[in-house]
């Protein structure tokens, strides 16, 4: 029998607002890199580096990811979002919080960072509570649900650690090395929250989009366990500057290796052989984990000291992690999520009554393909420029990225346009079908 229309209750406004805020942040960040390519070409923590990093992480990545989670979690776990009102409140807190933080970092007003950080942290707690309550309504906990829950836990810790890092700049509350504190904070967010979330949702979405199934439950669970244990160990060893950092980096890489093996197994038996560009974006992001892991091993090796070259290697590591792996994964998933949301809102009531477009008809595949190659070109160029400290080359790479994101934004506008000007046609065959026999 037909179930109650769970999805109809879900509004798309919150998710689209987060995605729009994220896309604007990404474009702003790319402009910033074009204007100040030295951010990439030199190893120096100045206010521009910190501000643009938070624009990318909070403004782009967290906005897109949190907006997506409000739709993905109910779909992936077959339940309802606990509260849409809280999601709307979170959007406001998030918007005020991250724009204020970036502005204050740019002005190097750490007290201001703290105030806006508090607003952002309140939003994150609202988000964690809302998704946490949503998770409590599921009947059966599986690897996806546990992965999402643990990613949420790391997110809360990342935000708290960020506030402590800011506080430590104002008051003598921490005896830890400031660079180590920042690195530990960054890994809580990048690895603990984002990477574990990507792994968890992949175990649901890749089988769903490829018409396949999870192939080995224990492999999936083990990958998740290794990532969580590795993350906990990395946090402590980075903070204390311990040589055991390498050991926990290997634990994390083992978890990612198992994740990669499981993905390959899922894709091998997929029934849908044609891979769309959304999936290609996402799988390219996963493939970029290989160079990232090599860099992680190099940078966590005992005896590596901070100098100009290793500093630039750290920049390449952060660049590939945030703007390579995470950004490409998000772009790929947004090409699946946003068309679905718009289609669901605008066309699903007409299904069977009108001729409705398919999801792929809502955007330009040509633009999507162009955007993919522009993005990869930008990534290669900026990575090399960062490695060799070449500002002019970094600027050209950032320009390619900017062009890629313009193309992405154009496609998002094209998709959203269907909300206002739908492309339905009445069914011409109805007359011929009426009254037979």
């Amino acid at each position: 029998m037909i179930q109650s229309d769970r999805n109809a209750k879900r509004s798309i406004a919150v998710t689209l607002s987060f995605v729009a805020a994220g896309t604007v942040s990404l474009l702003t960040g790319m402009c910033w890199l074009i204007v100040r390519p030295d951010i990439l070409a030199t190893y120096h923590y100045n206010q521009h580096v910190i501000a643009v990093t938070h624009l990318f992480t909070l403004g782009w990545i967290c906005s897109a990811v949190m907006g997506s989670i409000y739709q993905l979690v109910p779909v992936a776990l077959e339940t309802n979002l606990h509260s849409e009102r809280l999601a709307r409140a979170h959007f406001l807190l998030h918007l005020i919080g991250f724009t204020g933080m970036v502005w204050m970092f740019r002005a190097w007003n750490i007290k201001g960072v703290g105030y806006f950080g508090f607003i952002l942290a309140t939003g994150v707690l609202v988000f964690a509570y809302n998704i946490g309550r949503t998770l409590t309504s599921i009947l059966r906990w599986n690897v996806v649900a546990v992965g999402i829950a643990s990613a949420l836990g790391w997110l809360v810790l990342a935000i708290l650690a960020g506030l402590l890092v800011a506080a430590a700049k104002l008051w003598p509350i921490s005896s830890f090395d400031p660079i180590r504190q920042m690195h530990a904070h960054a890994h809580l967010g990048g690895l603990g929250f984002l990477m574990i979330l990507i792994v968890a949702v992949s175990y649901k979405l890749i089988p769903m989009f490829g018409l396949s199934e999870l192939q080995n439950q224990s492999r999936a669970w083990t990958s998740l366990a290794l990532l969580n244990v590795g993350m906990a160990g990395l946090f402590v060893t980075i903070l204390f500057g311990s040589a055991l950092k390498l050991l926990f980096a290997i634990v994390v890489i083992s978890g990612l290796g198992l994740f990669g093996c499981e993905l390959i197994a899922i894709l091998r038996v997929r029934k849908r052989r044609i891979m769309d560009w959304g999936m290609k974006y996402f799988l390219t992001a996963i493939a970029l984990l290989a160079p990232l892991c090599v860099l992680a091993i190099v940078l966590s090796s005992p005896g590596v000291t901070l100098n100009d070259f290793t500093g630039r290697l750290e920049n390449v590591y952060g660049l590939i992690a945030l703007l390579g792996v995470v950004t490409l994964a998000i772009l790929g998933m947004l090409y699946k999520i946003v068309p679905f949301l718009v289609w669901y809102s605008r066309y699903s009531p007409d299904i069977g009554r009108m001729k409705v477009p398919a999801l792929v008809d809502l955007y330009s595949v040509r633009l999507q393909t162009i955007g993919y190659w522009l993005f990869l070109g930008g990534l290669v160029l900026t990575s090399l420029a960062t490695l060799f400290g070449h500002a002019a080359c970094a600027q050209k790479g950032a320009a390619l990225w900017f062009a890629s994101i313009i193309v992405f934004a154009a496609n998002m506008v094209k998709i959203s346009h269907h909300l206002f000007k739908p492309g339905t046609e009445s069914l011409p065959m109805n007359a011929a079908l009426k009254g037979v026999s």
Binding site: I2, Q3, R6, R273, I351, L359, M429, N430
Partner: protein, 105 residues
């Protein structure tokens, strides 16, 4: 007055108007329709989806109802979403398979 009744072919043709938007293929060529029973002006359809996690399940089922109620000869529609046996590409038509690039595993 002549009372007309639908036949199975008419029903299948009407169901071809219902698409899975992610796969861009209609539910008949996808092999999602398991059985069709016609009793007078009532049509009962047993169908599945490619995955139980399909977020479109309710709307696709509603689309089936709408498409069939559009037929003059249909007054009542019963849609039963079933998961056993699970969908497999073997159920697809040749047209659906070539359209989707789906092969039988």
């Amino acid at each position: 007055m002549i009372v007309s009744h639908p036949n199975e072919q008419t029903v299948r043709d009407a169901l071809r108007q219902v698409i899975d938007p992610e796969l861009d293929c209609n539910i008949v060529d996808l092999g999602l329709i398991y059985s069709i029973h016609i009793q007078g002006t009532k049509v009962s359809v047993a169908m599945t989806l490619t995955t139980p996690a399909c977020p479109m399940q309710e709307r696709i089922a509603m689309g089936v109802q709408s498409a069939l109620l559009n037929l003059d000869s249909v007054e009542e529609v019963d849609v039963d979403l079933v998961w056993d046996p699970p969908w497999s590409p073997a159920r697809m038509t040749e047209e659906g398979r070539s359209r989707m690039g789906i092969y039988e595993s």
